[in-house]
C-alpha cells in the first residue's frame, strides 16, 4: 500500500473527504465506501455499467483514476432519485417494463440524466451519440429507447432529482 491520497470530492451533493490509494480507480473508491450502484462490469471502458457523472458529464468510473476526481463533483445512481422520488427516466423505465436483470440500469440512468440535463429535447442522433457507451444484454434496447423517448416527450425531466 502506498501513502494514501486525500481526495476532496463533492459526492451526490455532499462535500466528502476520502483516503485513496494512488493507483485506485474511482469505481473501486466508490464501492469501497458502500456506493455499489456503479458496477464492476467489463472494467475496460466498454460496457457502461460503472457510469457516473463527473461535473455533470458521463464517464466510466472503472477507467478514471480516483485522483482525477479530486476537487470535482461526482454523482452516482445513489444521488439520482429514490423509490419515493425516482428520476423521470427511472419511472419511465419501470412503466415501459424496460428493466430485466438491471445490471446496466444505473449506468443507463446516469447517461440519460447527463443527456437530458444538457438538452431536454435531444434528437434521435444525439440520443444515440450520448447513450452509445451503455450496453444492455437483456432487453435489446427497444424498451429502454421507448422509456427515454417518453421522458423527452413529457418535457425531458431535467433537474427533477436529488442531485
Amino acid at each position: 500500500m502506498n501513502d494514501p491520497l486525500t481526495l476532496h470530492i463533492r459526492l451526490n451533493g455532499e462535500p466528502r473527504v476520502f483516503a485513496a490509494d494512488p493507483d485506485e480507480k474511482l469505481l473501486e473508491l466508490l464501492r469501497r465506501h458502500g456506493l455499489k450502484g456503479a458496477k464492476f462490469g467489463c472494467r475496460e471502458g466498454v460496457c457502461g455499467a460503472c457510469t457516473v457523472l463527473l461535473d455533470g458529464r458521463a464517464v466510466y468510473a472503472c477507467l478514471l483514476p480516483a485522483c482525477l476526481a479530486d476537487g470535482h463533483e461526482v454523482v452516482t445512481i445513489e444521488g439520482v432519485g429514490d423509490q419515493e422520488h425516482p428520476h423521470p427516466f427511472q419511472q419511465a423505465l419501470v412503466e415501459a417494463g424496460a428493466v430485466q436483470c438491471g445490471f446496466c440500469i444505473p449506468g443507463m440512468v446516469l447517461s440519460a440524466k447527463a443527456l437530458l440535463d444538457e438538452n431536454p429535447q435531444p434528437e434521435d442522433e444525439e440520443i444515440r451519440e450520448k447513450m452509445d457507451g451503455n450496453l444492455c444484454r437483456c432487453t435489446g434496447y427497444e424498451k429502454i429507447w421507448t422509456a427515454l423517448k417518453a421522458v423527452i416527450a413529457a418535457g425531458g425531466g431535467g433537474g427533477e432529482d436529488a442531485s
Binding site: 493507483d23 458521463a58 478514471l64 485522483c67 482525477l68 447517461s111 447513450m131 457507451g133
Partner: protein, 281 residues
Amino acid sequence: MKIKAVRRPETPEQARDWARELGEQALYVAGGTGLHFMTDPAEMVAIPLDRIGLRGVECSGRHYRIGALTPLADVMNYRAERWAFHETGRRTATHQIRNISTVGGNICRVFPWCDLPVALLALEATMVLLGDDGYAVPADDYFASQPARRLANGDLLLAVDVPVLEAHMGFGYRKEVICHSGFSLMTVAARLRLEGDRIRDARVAAGAALPFPARLKQVEALLADQPATPDTFARAATEGVREVAWKGREDWSDAYAAHAAAIAVRDALDRALTFARRRDW
C-alpha cells in the same frame, strides 16, 4: 504499470519541472484512459494535468488551436466555418470515453488504433510543446516515431494547431470498426487542395492497420496535378496502397487490410472532394 504516488501541478511549467525531476518515474496523466493499456510493471509517479488549463478550441484566423487537455467530446461539439475535425471526435470510442479522453492523451502515447494522429497528419497540424521554452513540431516530425519517447524528457504538449481549410480545400475521414464504439481496424484521412477541377496537392494518412500512423505518399503522388475524378481516386486508391505493409488487426488478415485500405482511401477522397466543393460556408 502502477501509480505509487501523485503530484498535482497547477501550471504547465510546474508539471514540466516535476517531470524532469522525477525522470523515468514521471507519468503525465490527462484523462487517464490510456493507463488501461500500459501493462509494464513499472511503478510511476502520476502528474495529473487537470488543473493546468489547456482546454478548449479557439480560431486565430489561420488555424484552430486545440488545447492539449480538451476532451474529445468538446472537439466533437465545436463548430466553426471550415472546421472538419469534429467528425474525428464523433467517431472515437463512446461518449463516456470522449468525455474524459483528451486530444493530448490521444497523441502523446500513440497506440496503433489511435484516431487523431491520422487526421492530424492529413490536416498538416502542428504540435505546440513546452520544453525549456515553447516550440512547435510539424505533424510529420511529431508522428515520425512514438511521441512518448520525445516527451520522455518532461516536455509537455500544450496545444495542437490545425490549419483552417482554405477555399477549395476539403477533408475526408473514414474509420472501419466492428461496432460503433470499437477500436479502429482501418483509419484513413485525406486533405485535398483543388485548383479548378484538378487536384493541386493531397495529404493522405492511414492508421490502425499499420504498426504506426503514417502518410500514404504513393497515394498522394498519384493524386497530385491530376483531374479530381472518380477514375483518379480509384487508381490512387488501388495502386497507391499496394506497396504498403498492411497489418490486419483482430480477425483481419493482412491481405484483407490491404483491400479495406483501398476502399477507405477512396471513400476518404470522395468525402474530401465533396467538402472542397461545398459553397455554403
